[in-house]
C-alpha cells in the first residue's frame, strides 16, 4: 500500500488501481490484440487469394481462423470498450473511482495474462483449431490431432481465466453504477454510454457464467476424460449426437448475448457522439434506453437460431425464429431514434461523427442480412457460407468502427490534446472504403464455404478484391496511430471540451481529468442532468447544479482512494504458469500442484497475517501447520505417484506447481488488503440504498454462480432426458451392458448424500452463529463459565470448517469406494461423468470456502470482527457464499442420490 508513483514510472502502471490508469491499460492492451488479430486476418485474406490457398498449411489456416475470432471478440472488442468504460463511467456518474479498485486492477491483469496464455498456446504444438464456436466434438481430445492437444487445452484455460476477469469486472461495474452515483443522478439520467455499460455488464454477468460452465465441462473432458461433449445416445439411425447438441445449447445461450455484449457499449457511445455532433438531445432517449434493456433480456431467449440445422424440434425452432424477429424491433426503434436525431439536429462533420455515421450504415447492412439468417428456411441455405461471415463482420465490425470513432471523440479528454482532423478524415475514408471492399464482395460470392480455403474458382476476382480491401482497411489504422502519436506530443491543447455541444459530465472537468476526477463533490441535485455547452462548463456546472450545500462544493475529496497495490498484478501473473503447465498434465498428475499449493496458502496466511495484524498465535499455528500438511500431501503423492517419479516430472508439472504455489501465496496476500474504498457519504443508490457495496457485489456474484451451477445441472438434466430419464438407473442395472455401473449402483446409496446434507446444513447454521457471536455486545456466560465473543466467533467458524472438512472426508470415502474399488471412473459412462463433475464442482466450492474460512479464523483470532467499531460484515458476506453452496447441495442431493 502506498501512494501512486508518477505516470512516467513503470512501477505506476504495475501497481495502479486508479480507474483512469486501468482504462488506459485496457485500451493499449486491446489495441495490441487488435494488431495481432488483424495480422491473422490478413493471413486469412492472403490464403484466400486463390482457391486452395497460398501460404498456410491446413492446420495453420485452422489455427489462424480460430484465433483471429477468439482474439478479436474476447481480447480486442470487449476490453477495448471496457477501456473506455473504466475511464469514463466513474466520470459520467460522478464517482471517484469504481467500487472495488483493486478488483478492477485484478480484472485487467487477468485479462492481460489470459491473453498471454492464448498467444503462448501457438508455441505449445498448436493453438485451438476448431473455430471460435468450438463446436463439439471438434473441441474434445479424440477429435484434436496429437500435436494440438496441449495448445488447445491451453486456449480453453485462457478463456476460463478471461471469464474470471469478465466476471470480476461485471460485479464491479454493477456495484459502481448502482451505488456510487453522485447526488441527484437518477438511473434514467445516467449518460447513454454508462447506461449501455450497465446493460452490458448485466448480460456479461449471466452469459459468461454459462460459457464458463461449458468451458469447465470441456476442460473436464480434456483432463478427466469425462464424456459430455463427445456423447452419442441411441444407436443406428436413431442415434443423436447429444454431446454436440449440449455444447451448442450452452455455447449459444452465451453466444447470442455476447453479440450485444460486444455491440452495446459501442451503441452507447454512438448515441453520445450522435448527440454531440447533431447538437441536440437524442430523440426518444427514454425509449432508446427501454429498447436497450428489452434487447438485453430478449437476447437470452433467441439462442437456438444458431441451431436450425441441428436435431432440435421444429416447434422450438419456430419459437426461436419468432423471438429473433421480435428482437430486431427494438433495434429498429434505436436506429430510427439515431437517424431522426441527426435529421433534426445540425450536423458537425467531425471525424467521430463520420465514424458514427459510417458505422450506422455498416450496422444496418449487417442487421438486415442477419434477418435472412433468422428465417429457418433461408438458414438451411445460408448456414456455413460466406453470407454468415459477411453478416457478422458487418455487425461486429460496426461496433469496432464506432469505438474507433470514440477514440477520436475522447482522445482530447484523455490526453488534453487535439488530434489532426484532416488525418482523421483520411483514416475514416480509407477504413470505410477498405471495410466495404473487404466484406461486401462476400455477400456476392456468398456460396464460398466458411472456414475452408477452397472455393469456386469463378469467385477468385471477388476474393482478391476482398483481400485488397483488407489491406486498405489495415493501412487506415496506421494513419490513426501516426495521427494520435503525433498529436500527443503536439501543442494543440484543449480545455474542458473541444466540442461546442456536449451532453455528459466528463466534459465538465479538465482534460485530462485530475487524479481525483472532480474538484469538489459532484451533484446533480437540481433535478435533471442538463445538456452543457462550452460557456456553461467554464462556469462550473457542477457548482451550479448542487443544491446549495457548501460542503459539497468546497469539501476536500473524501479519503484518497488511489492506493497502490502489487497484489493484483502478482496474483494474476500466476495464471500464465499455472495454465501453461496444467495444459500439458495428465489426469493422474494434474491435481498435485494444487494440493501442494494448499500448505503454501496456509503458511502465507500466517506470514501475511503477522505482517498485517501483528504476530498472534494463530499465525504461528498456520506457519507450523503447513509443514505436517505438506508432509501429508507428500505421503499421498508417494502412494499415488511415487516420490521417485519427481525426478522425471515434465516441465509442465513444475510450471503448474510453481504457478499454483505462487497463486496461493499472492491470493493470501490480496486477502489481507481491503477490497473496498470508503463508500461515498452522499450518493444516489436506488434501488440498493441500504445494501453495502460488498454485499451487493457478493449477491451479483452469487447470481452469476447460479448460472454456472445452473448450466451444470441443466447439462445433467438435458443429458439424462436425452438418455431417457428413467432409463438412467435401469440401464445402469443391466449387468451385461454396464457391469461396473451396476456394481457402483449398489454401493452408491442415499446414505452418504444424506450425511453430507446434514453436515452442510450444520455448517450453515454455525456460520450464522459465528456472525451472531461477533455482533453480540455481551459475552456468553454459562453458569460460572464465560466465553468472550472473540472466542465464540472463532469456535463457530472452526466448527463450520470442521463440518466442511467432514463433508469432504465423507465424499472422499464415497469417491474412493466408487472410483478405486468399483472401477467406476470419470469417463465410464455418462452417469459417472455427470455425477463426478457436478458434485466435484460443488466440492471445489466447498474447498474454496474452507480456504476463505482459514483466513476468517485468523482474522477473528486477532479480534478483527468483534468489539466496538469493528465490522463483522466480512463474516456475513462469506456466510452468503457459504449458504449458497449449501443451497446448491440441497438440489444436488436429490438429483444425484435419490431420483
Amino acid at each position: 500500500m502506498g501512494d501512486l508513483p508518477p505516470r512516467s514510472s513503470v512501477k505506476r502502471w504495475l501497481v495502479t488501481t486508479n480507474h483512469k490508469d486501468i482504462g488506459i491499460l485496457y485500451l493499449l492492451t486491446s489495441v495490441f490484440f487488435l494488431v495481432v488479430a488483424g495480422v491473422l486476418a490478413l493471413l486469412i485474406r492472403i490464403q484466400l487469394l486463390q482457391s486452395g490457398g497460398t501460404i498456410l498449411s491446413d492446420a495453420g489456416y485452422n489455427q489462424v481462423v480460430t484465433s483471429h475470432g477468439f482474439l478479436m471478440i474476447f481480447w480486442f472488442l470487449s476490453p477495448f470498450a471496457f477501456g473506455f468504460a473504466n475511464y469514463f463511467v466513474p466520470l459520467q456518474i460522478g464517482a471517484d473511482d469504481l467500487a472495488f479498485p483493486r478488483l478492477n486492477a485484478m480484472s485487467y491483469w487477468l485479462y492481460l495474462f489470459s491473453g498471454v496464455l492464448v498467444l503462448g498456446s501457438f508455441f505449445q504444438g498448436a493453438t485451438f483449431m476448431g473455430g471460435w464456436t468450438a463446436y463439439a466434438p471438434l473441441n474434445v481430445p479424440s477429435y484434436i490431432p496429437d500435436f494440438g492437444q496441449v495448445g488447445s487445452f491451453a486456449t480453453i484455460l485462457a478463456l476460463i481465466a478471461f471469464i474470471g476477469s469478465v466476471t470480476i469486472g461485471s460485479v464491479n461495474f454493477l456495484t459502481t453504477i448502482y451505488r456510487m452515483r453522485a447526488k441527484g443522478l437518477r438511473m434514467r439520467d445516467i449518460p447513454l454510454f454508462s447506461i449501455s455499460i450497465l446493460v452490458t455488464v448485466w448480460m456479461m454477468l449471466f452469459a459468461f457464467a454459462a460459457y464458463l460452465a461449458a468451458l469447465i465441462i470441456l476442460s473436464s473432458d480434456h483432463l478427466l476424460h469425462t464424456s459430455f461433449f463427445a456423447l452419442e445416445t441411441g444407436s443406428g439411425p436413431e442415434a443423436t449426437d447429444s454431446g454436440s447438441l449440449l455444447w451448442t445449447h450452452i455455447f449459444w445461450f452465451f453466444g447470442h448475448p455476447e453479440v450485444y455484449i460486444v455491440f452495446f457499449p459501442a451503441l452507447g457511445v454512438l448515441g453520445e457522439m450522435v448527440q454531440t455532433f447533431s447538437g441536440r438531445r437524442l430523440v426518444g432517449r427514454k425509449w432508446f434506453i427501454i429498447a436497450m434493456a428489452l434487447v438485453g433480456i430478449q437476447s437470452f431467449i433467441v439462442w437456438m437460431h444458431h441451431m436450425f440445422l441441428t436435431a432440435i424440434s421444429l416447434e422450438i425452432k419456430t419459437v426461436m425464429m419468432v423471438t429473433t424477429v421480435a428482437i430486431s424491433l427494438p433495434f429498429d426503434l434505436m436506429v430510427f431514434s439515431l437517424i431522426y436525431t441527426m435529421i433534426k439536429g445540425k450536423i458537425r462533420w467531425k471525424t467521430p461523427f463520420l465514424f458514427s455515421l459510417g458505422a450506422l450504415v455498416i450496422f444496418i447492412i449487417g442487421g438486415i442480412t442477419g434477418v435472412f439468417l433468422g428465417a429457418i428456411v433461408l438458414d438451411y441455405s445460408f448456414r456455413g457460407t460466406y453470407w454468415v461471415v459477411a453478416h457478422f463482420h458487418y455487425v461486429m465490425a460496426s461496433s469496432a468502427v464506432i469505438l474507433i470513432g470514440a477514440v477520436y471523440y475522447w482522445f482530447p479528454k484523455m490526453t488534453g490534446k487535439m488530434y489532426n482532423e484532416f488525418l482523421g478524415k483520411v483514416h475514416f475514408a480509407m477504413a470505410f472504403i477498405g471495410f466495404n471492399l473487404l466484406y461486401f464482395p462476400m455477400f456476392i460470392v456468398w456460396e464460398t464455404p466458411r472456414r475452408i480455403f477452397h472455393y469456386n474458382s469463378g469467385f477468385t476476382m471477388w476474393h482478391q478484391t476482398a483481400t485488397a480491401g483488407a489491406f486498405l482497411f489495415a493501412a487506415s489504422f496506421l494513419v490513426m496511430f501516426y495521427n494520435l502519436a503525433k498529436s500527443l506530443y503536439s501543442d494543440r491543447h484543449v480545455g474542458e471540451s473541444p466540442w461546442s455541444y456536449v451532453a455528459s459530465p466528463e466534459w465538465a472537468v479538465s482534460s485530462p481529468p485530475p487524479l481525483e476526477n472532480f474538484p469538489g463533490k459532484p451533484s446533480f441535485a437540481s433535478g435533471e442532468l442538463n445538456f452543457l455547452d462550452r460557456a456553461e462548463t467554464d462556469g462550473g456546472v457542477e457548482d451550479a447544479a448542487t443544491d446549495g450545500g457548501v460542503e459539497e462544493t468546497l469539501a476536500p475529496p473524501e479519503e484518497h482512494a488511489d492506493h497502490a497495490s502489487w497484489w493484483p498484478f502478482l496474483t494474476a501473473s500466476s495464471v500464465v504458469l499455472t495454465g501453461f503447465g496444467l495444459a500439458g498434465l495428465s489426469v493422474s498428475h494434474f491435481v498435485w500442484p494444487f494440493l501442494f499449493a494448499i500448505p503454501a496458502f496456509v503458511a502465507a496466511l500466517g506470514v501475511h497475517g503477522a505482517r498485517q495484524d501483528g504476530f498472534a498465535q494463530i499465525h504461528g499455528i498456520y506457519m507450523m501447520l503447513s509443514f505436517p500438511l505438506l508432509a501429508l500431501f507428500f505421503i499421498f503423492f508417494h502412494i499415488g505417484i511415487g516420490i521417485g517419479e519427481l525426478a522425471s516430472m515434465s516441465a509442465y508439472f513444475w510450471a503448474a506447481l510453481v504457478g499454483a504455489v505462487w497463486g496461493a501465496y499472492t491470493l493470501a496476500g490480496i486477502g489481507y488488503e481491503s477490497f473496498e474504498v470508503p463508500e461515498p457519504k452522499m450518493a444516489e443508490q436506488w434501488p440498493f440504498e441500504s445494501v453495502e457495496n460488498t454485499k451487493l457485489g457478493m449477491w451479483t456474484f452469487i447470481a452469476s454462480d447460479i448460472i454456472v451451477f445452473g448450466a451444470f445441472i441443466g447439462a445433467y438434466i438435458f443429458t439424462r432426458i436425452e438418455y431417457g430419464w428413467q432409463e438412467w438407473w435401469k440401464l445402469a442395472k443391466d449387468p451385461a451392458a454396464h457391469t461396473m455401473a451396476e456394481q457402483a449402483l449398489e454401493h452408491h446409496p442415499v446414505l452418504p448424500g444424506l450425511i453430507n446434507t446434514y453436515l452442510l446444513l450444520a455448517s450453515s447454521f454455525t456460520v450464522v452463529l459465528a456472525l451472531s457471536a461477533a455482533r453480540r455486545t455481551e459475552d456468553y456466560s454459562i453458569g460460572p463459565f464465560s466465553i468472550s465473543n472473540r472466542s465464540a466467533t472463532v469456535t463457530f467458524l472452526g466448527l463450520t470448517f470442521g463440518g466442511a472438512a467432514f463433508f469432504l472426508v465423507n465424499k472422499g470415502i464415497e469417491w474412493v469406494d466408487l472410483f478405486v474399488h468399483q472401477g467406476w471412473t470419470f469417463g465410464v459412462d455418462v452417469m459417472s461423468s455427470t455425477f463426478y463433475l457436478t458434485t466435484g464442482m460443488h466440492a471445489l466450492h466447498v474447498i474454496i470456502g474452507m480456504l476463505v474460512m482459514l483466513f476468517l479464523i485468523a482474522r477473528a483470532w486477532t479480534g478483527a470482527y468483534v468489539g466496538e467499531g469493528e465490522d463483522a460484515s466480512t463474516i456475513e458476506y462469506f456466510g452468503l457464499y457459504w449458504h449458497f453452496v449449501d443451497i446448491v447441495w440441497l438440489f444436488l442431493f436429490p438429483l444425484f442420490y435419490i431420483l
Binding site: S313, T700, E722, L751, F765, P894, I898
Partner: protein, 89 residues
C-alpha cells in the same frame, strides 16, 4: 438479524425435511409413483432452499431488489434448462 432461537428452529426443520427426502426413497415410493415422488422431493428441496435464502441469507430483511438479482440468475438457469430440454423432447 433474527434471534438464535429462530435460526435453531430453521435448522431443525431443514434437518427434518432432508430426512424426509431420504425416507421417501427408503420407503420405496419412487418404485411405484416415480413422477409424483419426484415432484414431492423437489418441492421439499425448494422449501429448504427458500428457508436458507430467506433466513440464513436474510433475504427477508433485505430490499426486494436483492431478491430480484438472485431471481434473475434463477430465471436464466430455468430458461436454459427448459429451452434445451424442450428442444429434444
Amino acid at each position: 438479524m433474527a434471534s438464535t432461537k429462530t435460526y435453531t428452529a430453521i435448522f431443525v426443520v431443514l434437518m427434518a425435511l432432508s430426512t424426509t427426502q431420504a425416507a421417501v426413497e427408503w420407503l420405496g415410493f419412487l418404485e411405484d409413483y416415480y413422477w409424483e415422488t419426484l415432484g414431492v422431493i423437489m418441492v421439499l428441496s425448494t422449501m429448504k432452499a427458500l428457508a436458507v435464502a430467506g433466513y440464513y441469507m436474510h433475504l427477508r430483511d433485505e430490499p426486494r431488489s436483492i431478491t430480484y438479482v438472485a431471481m434473475a440468475g434463477l430465471i436464466g438457469f430455468l430458461a436454459l434448462t427448459a429451452g434445451a430440454s424442450y428442444s429434444i423432447i
